[in-house]
């Protein structure tokens, strides 16, 4: 059997009036893997998902899901996908159980099988107790779980999750993460959009970073980190009054200006080349600077994102000032 990509998109363009939501986006999701689509608010993530889910036609480019064209073979594509949109799309007037039974019936299951499948999913998503209650009485997290369950009724080969953890509390978030890992272990391909770098780092095998409708970087989380300075050197002098001297020296050697944190007495700079380290140590020694800490660590995706886009992940335009604080709320 040929190994064909689960999702393949080339040059997707979509405009809304004057806004160009997607400006030539290429995507590839390999079978059984998680593709993280990472970008700030308004980057075009939802638009891309809606095109791939056959809800929206692209103005340009083309996309295939398991080899089927999302425009010309939409009916086939719909048999392969499951969609959890950015906003929970459960029927508030129906009970959790009936929401799922309805989808099973729409997918052609006989009533008993639709019921059995619904029961199984409600169990799995910890909604069994609320199964008979109307969905309008559910909390945000419960709605999200019901929505996820709804997208799984048909056992989709390709699953789209549009910001599945936005607005969830940390506990629900880690529940969702565990669930996504379980699905992938079962063989599903997942397209996950997120604004959270940590989430992409945790879950995705491959990451596509988009901003203003354009792909600005692709790769595995490791590759992305390697692409930009890859590692960060952190130096804390024992005597914090020498911070400025250390900073000057690092600027000279690394070729980029370091960030200085006076509170913790630390200077940090991305370094592309680890062979610099002995030189730096020697020169620090030459100037008689005693070190409290000298450490090389992998750059976080926050730092990668910042250097790729010029703004932090949760600042949509990068015009607002603000400290570099990429961690999810």
């Amino acid at each position: 059997m040929e190994t064909e990509n689960s999702i393949e998109a080339h040059g997707l363009v979509r405009r809304f009036g004057k806004t160009t939501a997607l400006d030539g986006v290429d995507l590839v999701a390999r079978p059984g893997r998680v593709l993280g689509l990472l970008g700030p608010n308004g980057a075009g993530k939802t638009t891309a998902v809606r095109i791939l889910a056959t809800l929206l036609r692209p103005d340009g480019g083309e996309a295939r899901v398991c080899g089927y064209d999302v425009v010309r073979e939409a009916h086939q594509v719909r048999q392969l996908i499951g969609l959890t949109g950015q906003y929970a799309s459960v029927d508030e007037g129906l009970s959790g159980m009936n929401n799922l039974v309805m989808i099973g019936r729409l997918l052609g299951m006989p009533r008993p099988r639709a019921k059995a499948r619904a029961t199984e999913l409600l169990e799995r998503f910890d909604l069994a107790d609320a199964a008979q209650r109307p969905a309008k009485t559910y909390s945000g997290g419960m709605r999200r779980r019901l929505d996820l369950a709804a997208s799984l009724v048909g056992d989709p080969r390709v699953l789209y999750l549009d910001e599945p953890t936005t607005g969830l509390d940390p506990r629900s978030r880690s529940d969702v993460w565990a669930m996504i890992r379980g699905l992938v272990a079962d063989g599903a391909t997942v397209l996950l959009t997120t604004q959270y770098l940590e989430e992409a780092d945790q879950l995705a095998h491959d990451i596509v970073v988009i901003d203003h409708g354009k792909v600005i970087a692709t790769g595995t989380p490791g590759e992305l980190k390697a692409k930009v300075g890859s590692r960060v050197l952190e130096v804390s002098p024992a005597d914090s009054s020498r911070l400025a001297v250390v900073a000057d020296l690092l600027t000279e050697r690394a070729g980029v200006s370091p960030s200085t944190d006076t509170d913790s007495g630390m200077v940090a700079v991305p370094v592309a080349d680890a062979t610099l380290l002995p030189t730096i140590i020697r020169e620090l020694d030459d100037r008689g600077i005693e070190l409290a800490e000298f450490a090389l660590r992998k750059a976080s995706l926050d730092e990668v994102f910042l250097s790729l886009t010029g703004h932090a992940a949760d600042e949509p335009n990068g015009h607002e000032s603000g400290e570099l604080e990429g961690s999810p709320r």
Binding site: L55, Y68, Q76, V77, R78, L83, G85, V90, N98, L106
Partner: protein, 266 residues
């Protein structure tokens, strides 16, 4: 789970499967009706309110006696209640769109028309409820069917047929307008002149000429006359034929329009 074992997806929908989709979504509409007690309450109280109001407030003045007026007005109240009930179709479609439920449907391999068909079919039951309550409460107030039971049944059927056509107009509003509130406003603005610029409540003799001209072409006028004939007894052929023609016309104009707008959104 291995990918190799999975069957290839089918190329197109079979019509039978499409029909089944429509029935599943009809089931959903009915389920919602059963659990949404507010909708059910509104649906039932509206005709009761009209009947009480018209009979006891206007009745004496307009018809000489409340009883005589009730006998005259009830067929009109039937028309009025059922026509206003069609607004629910647009409202439900609109809610489904703004709540994202439609997006879920559209991402499923189901007949494109099933959500529309399901909403419309489910609503027939709402109309039937509205007719039954109007007629039932009217009888409690003293209304008596003058024609044969068969004729009265035909009257109810004609109402449902007409409502089934009108609800496509409502569906179109539901698809075009952005919010449920908007649907209610636009619906009322469109329905008010239609419903009250007719002979539902009074004979048109006392109205100015231009209004009489409008009343004469208003489909509500024919429908009301047809209902008076079928329920109370009286001339039938012309008003029934015209009502049916109007229903057909409304359906032929608005159903394709609604389907087209729906597809464009889909």
């Amino acid at each position: 789970m291995t990918t190799t074992a999975l069957p290839a997806p089918s190329r197109r929908m079979s019509p039978v499967a499409g029909l089944r989709n429509a029935f599943t979504l009809t089931w959903r509409s009915l389920l919602k009706l059963r659990t949404n007690s507010e909708d059910l309450l509104g649906l039932s109280l509206q005709p009761i309110m009209y009947l009480l109001l018209f009979t006891y407030v206007f009745g004496g003045a307009l018809g000489g006696s409340t009883h005589k007026y009730l006998q005259f007005a009830l067929p009109g109240v039937l028309v009025l209640s059922v026509v206003f009930a069609t607004l629910g179709t647009g409202l439900m479609l609109n809610q489904d769109i703004s709540s994202g439920v439609f997006d879920r449907f559209r991402s499923l391999p189901i007949a494109r028309s099933a959500p529309l068909a399901g909403a419309v079919l489910g609503d027939v039951v709402r109309y039937a409820i509205s007719v039954a309550i109007t007629l039932g409460f009217g009888m409690i107030l003293g209304y008596r069917i003058g024609a044969s039971p068969l004729s009265a049944a035909a009257g109810c059927l004609l109402l449902l047929t007409f409502a089934l056509a009108m609800c496509w107009f409502s569906a179109l509003i539901g698809l075009l307008v952005k919010t449920p509130q908007g649907v209610q406003w636009f619906g009322f603005l469109a329905y008010f002149p239609l419903v009250f610029g007719s002979n539902i409540l009074v004979q048109s003799r006392t109205m100015p000429g231009w209004l009489q001209a409008f009343v004469k072409v208003n489909p509500m006028t024919y429908l009301t006359e047809a209902e008076r004939g079928l329920l109370n007894g009286g001339p039938l052929a012309t008003p029934v034929t015209r009502s049916l023609l109007w229903a057909l016309g409304i359906f032929l104009v608005f159903a394709p329009l609604a389907v087209r707008v729906y597809r464009r959104r889909a």
